[in-house]
Every structure is written in structure tokens, then in C-alpha cells.
């Protein structure tokens, strides 16, 4: 029992951190690009991301299940019912949240800031890093929101992971299973652990965010 629970917690954390990491490295640059560049259809793109921020996990789960199904377009990758499938599902769900928050973080800065950096002779890459530094506080909120959506997600993880004991069972899917079986003690224990993990990760991120 202890080993099993430990495995669930460990897998859950690993999967969600990896998913958050994937959506960060793609979402923050994309959000920055959208915020800083002027192009036709910019507002439309922003609306799309805002809509996707509230994507129903089961819809994403369904879409990925079809994609990864044995005879599906990506069936040869044999990803269905693996932890990787859960990573992909969670990353897809947190990606628009990260992008959306990044866009508003960057857009809330003084628009003259970029002109100021250009006229002081900074290279494009340095300008982006300095802009991120200025938007540090809201960007950390983006990271926290992204991680929060990943670790708390259940619908898509259940569908693409299959909740297989010892392989793809994570905290949220385990809580669903145990409570449906009437094992409330185990379910409540997992729920408390889930909450504590979320608290610890957010505490760490908040310390980084508030550091001057």
C-alpha cells in the first residue's frame, strides 16, 4: 500500500512538472511573440487562446484518444495508456493558460519600454529577457496557473492514461477510483497529499516571484 501510494504521488508530480515545463518553454515565447508583434488577426488569436484557457479536459482527452488510437493517425507511436500521453494531455491543457497569461503580462507593461530598450541598443534576445524580468511577477502567476491546471486535471488523464495501476495511475485518477469504490480514507489521504504538493510547489514559485 505505501509503495503504491508513493508511486502514484511520484508519477503524478513527475508528469505534471514535465507537462508544465513543456507548456512553459513553448507558451512563454509564443505569448511574448503575440504580445509584442503587430499582425493582422492578432485580436482574433488572443480570443482563441482565451477560449482555449477554459478547454474542457474531456474534449482534449477525446481528441487525443482518437489521435493515439491503435488505428489512429498517431497510433504507431503506441502512446495511448502511457504516462507520456498524460504529459501531452496536461501540457495541451496548460499551454493556452500559459500563453494567455503571458500575453496579458507583457501587454500590461509600459509600451514605451520596448522602444526604450531598442534605442539603448539592446539585441532582440536581450530585449526579450529584460521584458521577462520586468514582467516577472505576472509571469510567475502564469507558471503557477499552468502547473495548477496540470496537477489538478483528471478527465483527460483518465481517458489517455487509462488509470492503470502501477503504470498510469496518478493522484487525481486514483482519488476518482478510490472514492467510487467507497475507499474514502485512501481518497481523502491522496487529496490531502495532492493539496500539500500543490502548496509546496506554489510556495517555492511564490518565493521566487516575490524575491526582489
Amino acid at each position: 500500500m505505501f509503495y503504491e501510494v508513493f508511486q502514484i504521488i511520484f508519477l503524478s508530480l513527475l508528469v505534471s512538472l514535465f507537462a508544465t515545463f513543456l507548456s512553459l518553454v513553448s507558451g512563454i515565447p509564443l505569448g511574448t511573440l503575440i504580445a509584442l508583434k503587430n499582425f493582422p488577426g492578432k485580436k482574433f488569436i488572443i480570443v482563441i487562446f482565451h477560449t482555449l484557457m477554459g478547454s474542457p479536459p474531456v474534449v482534449v482527452g477525446l481528441f487525443l484518444t482518437i489521435l493515439f488510437w491503435r488505428n489512429g493517425p498517431l497510433g504507431i507511436l503506441h502512446l495511448l495508456y502511457t504516462p507520456f500521453a498524460i504529459v501531452i494531455a496536461q501540457a495541451i491543457l496548460s499551454f493556452p493558460i500559459i500563453v494567455g497569461f503571458t500575453i496579458s503580462s507583457i501587454q500590461s507593461l509600459d509600451p514605451m519600454m520596448l522602444f526604450q530598450l531598442r534605442t539603448l541598443g539592446f539585441s532582440p534576445l536581450k530585449r526579450v529577457f529584460l521584458i521577462w524580468k520586468e514582467a516577472k511577477i505576472p509571469l510567475f502567476s502564469a507558471i503557477m496557473a499552468g502547473f495548477g491546471s496540470a496537477i489538478s486535471e483528471v478527465g483527460a488523464s483518465l481517458m489517455v492514461g487509462g488509470n492503470i495501476s502501477g503504470r498510469t495511475r496518478i493522484m487525481t485518477t486514483a482519488i476518482v477510483l478510490e472514492s467510487s469504490r467507497g475507499n474514502f480514507e485512501k481518497a481523502v489521504f491522496l487529496a490531502i497529499v495532492l493539496f500539500l504538493i500543490a502548496f509546496t510547489v506554489n510556495l517555492f514559485l511564490t518565493i521566487l516571484q516575490q524575491r526582489r
Partner: protein, 350 residues
Amino acid sequence: MEEIMRLKGIKFSRGNFELDIDDFSVKKGEIFCLLGENGSGKTTFFFILSLLIRPDSGEIWIMGKRVESIKDAGKNVTMVFQKPVLFSGSVYDNIILPIKGNKRKFEKDKLELLMEKFGISKIKEKKGKEISGGEAQRVCLVRALLLNPKILVLDEPFSSIDPISSHEIISEVIKIAREEGMTIIFSTHDPEESVHAERIGIMDNGKIVQIGSFKDIFYKPSNDRIAKILGSVNVIFGEIEEWRDGVAKVRSNGWIIEVVTDIKEGDVAIYLRPENVVISREISFSSARNNFKGEVREIFDKGLRIEIILDCGFPLISHVTRPSFENLDLKVGDIVYASFKASSVHLVRR
């Protein structure tokens, strides 16, 4: 002097506004002032010549090379904006940010000297948010000067600094520019500030409508519109005859005007605000050192103030308040006495 920058056939339009610069050039080491009302297009023009926005058409040449891309912004031209932009961190962090970021070398002594000259040594540890607008503007000036650009573009940089210290700051910026051989292009809507420039351009409705020396512009404005932009100003040219205890005697067309100044000799221009010229019926024995007898030539009602044009052997404009105008009971042709303090005059070297 060799030409450092030239703009040809620049066109830029957004909405109703249209910028149209046929041919504009500045020479190396020149101090150029762009004078114009708010909304005349000064800022847009400066953004284009600082390579921060791309014009719809036209050519920009810097040091004999045609600029192909606005990616070169900040290479030779650095702009200081009207509204100061500071980043997180202390004042000191802000000043050395571009030096560090561009891996440029700088002398620590020069930095200390600049901070001392612009009165920010005491606030260097403070955060950007904790200082006043005027202080922030000085920080931006020092940050730009430390980079030592070939061309420094200043967009109404003295608007958030109080008028008295703004003159000191302009003089200081120009002194540094001369030492370093830097070219300065600055804009203002205050004609008084333009006295510091070698050439002045008047911008109106997106076009540069007149370019010339201070004398050309103030004595021979091309049209009424330009005269209106220049506003009511007393500009008197002369030569310092004598200087003693901080007061110079300036000779101008046979008249002597006393001015409190550190300048001890040479050709000078005197700038006198019309509201500092006091009119009385009797000769006044006030502390004012400059007293002239004159005839009232014209009277203009300007609402809160009344503008009176006097002929004292030279033209002199005075602004009086409505109550004192009614008290004086002035009519065209009256003989009156005009006086102004030696300390209310601003004097610059020509």
C-alpha cells in the same frame, strides 16, 4: 562641418495625421532644436529619425550610409523620451543597464561626474518608482549620455523638469555634447528653450515649415502661423560691454540692459518673458535695474492677460493682468515707463 544625418522624402501617415519631411539634415556636433506645438508631429518625426518606427516611404542616411533597416536602432542614435522610462532596480542599476547589456566600457569617474552634474548622486540607491518625474528624466538623460551616442535625440526632455533647472540642464547637456562631439536634436514647445540651439526648425502639422538660426526664426518668422507658434517673446540681441559682481551690462542699439549672469563677455541674446515687464505711469524707483520710457503701440486682449506692445526705441512686449490694466487705463499712444529686473532676464551666448 560634415553632415551626420540626412532624411529625404520621408512620408508617414496614421489616421488623420500625416508627416511629410522633404529634406532634413543635421551636421556633426550640431545642436538642433525642433519647435512646435503639441500634436504637430515632433515625436513621430523623432521616432523615425531614431529608427524606432519605419516611415511609409523615404530615405534615412546616417554618416554617409543609407539605413536599410530599423534594426539598427540604438547603434548611432539614442533617444530620450518625453515620459521617462525606467526599469526595475535602483537608479544606479538603470543608468548602467545599457552599458552592461551591450558589454561596453565606461569610466566610473565619468559616471560619478554625470550623476553629480545632474543632481542624482543622492538618489542613486532609490528605486525608479520612488523618485519624482523630474528626477526620472534626469536619470534617463544620464543613462543616454553615458552611452555616448553619435546623435542624441531628446523629445521634450525638460518638460517634467522645473523651468529654472531646465535651463541649467540644457546648458549642461550641450556642454557635454560639445566636449564629446555629440550631435543633439531636441524638441520643445517652449520657445525659450530653443535659444540654446544653433539652428531651429519649426514644425507645424507634420511639416518642417521653417529652418534657420535663432535670429532668423525670431526676427523673421516666415508667416503669422509661425509667429503664433513662437508666441509672445522679447528677444534682444547685443554685446556685453561690462561685467561686474555678477551683473552684465549689455549694449543693444545704443541701449544698456543689465542682466544677472555668469557670462562675462561676447555677443549674447536676451530672452525676456512678457509677464516680467512691468508697466507704470510714473517712473518707478523700484529695485528693477532696467527702466525704459516708451509709447504704447498696440493693445491685445488675451483673456486673463492683456498684451501691450511698446516702442522703447526697440519693441518690447508686456503682459499685464486685467485689474492692473484697468488701473493703468492705457490707450494706444500713451507714454509709459517699462521696467524689468536684471534677474528676470535669461541670457545666452550667441
